[in-house]
């Protein structure tokens, strides 16, 4: 079948692309400006694929993606900041423990909740919240004792290695924290109807932004410096790293969508009531998708934090939270290929070309031109650039047609039209 070949071609194209860009960066042919934009494009691809899963494939209109992106960014930045600036693994250890213990707590609460029939979402939420709080406090307490030994172990490694390991773990943990928060937030909120869900998630993004504005005072993370912006984050996000994460996200998404779980996810978008009638646990499907999408957002945020080495709460303003939504719609709802292309186009055109094309003194026109482009795009192609089109590897291949081994006796519709009677 063609699947094998398209898989091969996909990987070859990807590797070629990866090496080509890396070579261009390495030789200095690609300026730092454009290299950064490519990284941003890849980061936006990851966030937007996450959102496409939630909105395009699962049908849940979420504006919360940017909040989870912010959570991932600040979590990972804090971990690497503490490692490079404070020279200890406190961030890593505590976050790791929080992730593990909270997962355990969620697992235990889920066990209890599954036994209690007729529990409403809000009560379940409360139980999870209690579990989360206990686990988090426990994690911080236990974590204190583990900071020194783990720091020592990591220091045994060569410094470049250690920092890359910390970075990798920080990115994954950024994703995990975002996923865990999305799980507990999604629990009550996912029961809301479509537009109300969108508004509640928009609220989430705003709440996160406000908390980040006050991260040094209210939350007590002085290194995040609240509304002044966090500086001193190591610039660890290389082109190779983003490309590897992007491809991992792509493959996971593709494999998931081509499975029974993916179909169940899509059936929820198509018709919730029919999906329930087919025995699909709609609430569970929504939660899984929401958590996975938010995990991707967290990953992307973590990568973004280490692109410029600087984070500011204004980056996570709710106005910007429409960006992934615009990318997803622009690329085509339910098209992973479209999302990736749209994300890179968005980064390169909006941040790159428009800056260069507009003459001196007209930089402020960038955001006058952008909405006009958006408007024209929507008027010309409301279904998005790609519609539901996918590149070969990402496309689902129809199985070989069925060859009846024996003849059944189905009630065959006798098609004899009335035409002859005219």
């Amino acid at each position: 079948m063609n699947t094998q070949r398209s898989t091969l071609i996909f990987w070859l194209v990807f590797l070629g692309f990866l090496i080509l860009i890396q070579a261009l960066i390495g030789t200095g042919l690609l300026s730092n400006f454009w290299a950064t934009l490519l990284k941003i494009g890849a980061v936006m691809s990851i966030v937007s694929i996450g959102l496409n899963l939630i909105y395009g494939f699962n049908g849940q209109f979420s504006l919360g993606q940017w909040g989870f992106y912010a959570i991932g960014a600040y979590t990972a930045a804090d971990i690497t900041y503490r490692w490079t600036q404070l020279h200890n693994a406190s961030g890593l250890v505590v976050v790791l423990l929080v992730v593990l213990l909270v997962s355990l707590a969620f697992f235990l609460v889920a066990k209890i909740v599954s036994r209690l029939r007729g529990l409403d979402a809000l009560s379940a939420f409360t139980l999870y919240l209690i579990g989360l709080l206990i686990a988090a406090i426990l994690a911080v307490m236990v974590g204190k004792g583990l900071i020194a030994p783990i720091t020592n172990i990591l220091n045994l490694l060569p410094a470049e290695w250690a920092i890359q390991i910390v970075f990798f773990l920080a990115v994954i943990l950024g994703g995990c924290i975002a996923a865990e928060i999305s799980y507990i937030f999604g629990l009550p909120v996912l029961t809301l109807g479509s537009d109300y869900f969108g508004i509640a998630t928009l609220g989430f993004t705003i709440i996160v932004k406000v908390l980040l504005d006050n991260s040094d005072t209210l939350l007590g993370f002085t290194e995040m410096k609240g509304a002044r912006g966090m500086v001193g984050i190591p610039k660890l996000t290389s082109w190779i790293w983003v490309a590897v994460f992007l491809i991992a996200v792509l493959v996971v998404t593709r494999n998931l969508l081509h499975s029974s779980h993916g179909r169940a996810m899509i059936s929820v978008r198509e018709d919730e009531i029919a999906a329930k009638a087919m025995g699909i646990n709609v609430a569970q499907q929504k939660t899984i998708t929401f958590v996975l999408g938010s995990f991707f957002a967290g990953l992307a945020g973590a990568l973004y934090a280490h692109v410029n080495g600087f984070l500011h709460p204004n980056t996570f303003n709710f106005i910007k939270s429409f960006d992934p939504m615009i990318i997803v719609v622009f690329g085509g709802l339910g098209s992973v290929s479209g999302t990736v292309v749209a994300a890179f186009t968005w980064a390169l055109v909006l941040e790159g070309l428009l800056r260069l094309v507009l003459p001196q003194g007209f930089e402020t026109w960038r955001f006058v031109v952008y909405p006009l482009l958006l408007l024209i795009m929507m008027l010309l192609r409301p279904q998005g650039l790609f519609g539901a089109f996918e590149f070969p590897y990402l496309r689902q291949v129809l199985p070989r047609p069925f060859q009846p081994r024996e003849l059944h006796q189905p009630p065959s519709p006798a098609d004899e039209p009335l035409n002859n009677g005219a």
Partner: protein, 278 residues
């Protein structure tokens, strides 16, 4: 043919005192019904009598205000719709509810999801376990489609199918969830007499082949009277009569509330009246 209503077997589905209120309005009031294994039971009544609400209560879409529904000795109340489907009750909808943008094959494969046999992790890494089960699942779905003579249309998008085939696919999809009890909500709606005859054949066919018990809501008397063994008539959320088709056709209460004088006699009368006018 068996006469299950007199057989001493235990009821497959047992409904007692079922009541559902919407903002003080009783859509279903003190509804009782027993369905025995292998039966084909009809539920009829004027629009808004609460028939579809009964379906929604059985399948867990609504939670009843009062009453008990027992399926194979399990109380269904408090269970989620998907859990009820997994217990063995499947349904179709009055206005066809396919997954419109998915292929015919995927529509059926989604019904097999509960028996997929592999987890999220297997799906994400596409391991051996995934390969094996996904292949088996697909083959089963394809074979199943062939039973309904639809295997040649596996790649077509469901919403592009002609109306009759959409109905057939919806019934096929419901059966793919391997139910013991099938609830059909106005399957003949919008069909012409020829299609209705085909549908009746199809219902007979699936009933034999899948060893089903069927509860049917229908407006077309020909279908109900033609294939049902027992009929329950509802009006204003309450049962006004139950019995064999013959008994129902002659029940004074039913004639008054629902059937009227009979279509043939009426049409004759209207014709006379028209010639009078003209």
């Amino acid at each position: 043919m068996t006469t299950p209503s007199t057989a001493p077997t235990k009821a497959l589905l047992e409904i007692k005192g079922l009541t559902k209120e919407f903002g003080g309005l009783k859509a279903v009031n003190n509804f009782d019904m027993d369905i025995y294994p292998g039966e084909l039971v009809g539920l009829i009544g004027p629009n808004g009598a609460g028939k579809t609400t009964v379906f929604n209560l059985i399948t867990g879409i609504y939670v009843p205000t009062a009453g008990v529904i027992r399926f194979r000795d399990t109380k269904l109340i408090g269970f989620q719709p998907h859990e009820i489907t997994q217990m063995g009750i499947a349904r179709t909808f009055q206005n066809i509810r396919l997954f419109p943008n998915l292929t015919v094959l995927d529509n059926v494969r989604i019904a097999y999801h509960i028996h997929a046999g592999y987890g999220m992790f297997d799906a994400i890494v596409h391991n051996k376990n995934y390969d094996r089960h996904e292949k088996a699942l697909t083959e089963r779905a394809q074979e199943f489609l062939s039973v309904f003579n639809m295997h040649t249309r596996q790649g077509e998008i469901a919403k592009n199918l002609p109306y009759g085939e959409q109905r057939r696919l919806e019934i096929a999809r419901a059966l793919a969830a391997s139910p013991q009890l099938l609830l059909l909500d106005e399957p003949a709606a919008g069909m012409n007499p020829k299609e209705v005859v085909e549908l009746m054949d199809l219902i007979h066919f699936i009933r034999e082949r899948f060893n089903l018990t069927i509860l049917l809501i229908e407006h077309q008397m020909r279908v109900v009277m033609g294939i049902c063994e027992r009929i329950t008539v509802m009006d204003f959320g309450e049962v006004i009569a139950r019995g064999t088709p013959e008994a129902i056709q002659n029940d004074e209460k039913v004639i008054e509330a629902y059937l009227g004088r009979g279509a043939a006699a009426l049409s004759q009368r209207l014709r006379e009246k028209r010639s009078h006018v003209a």
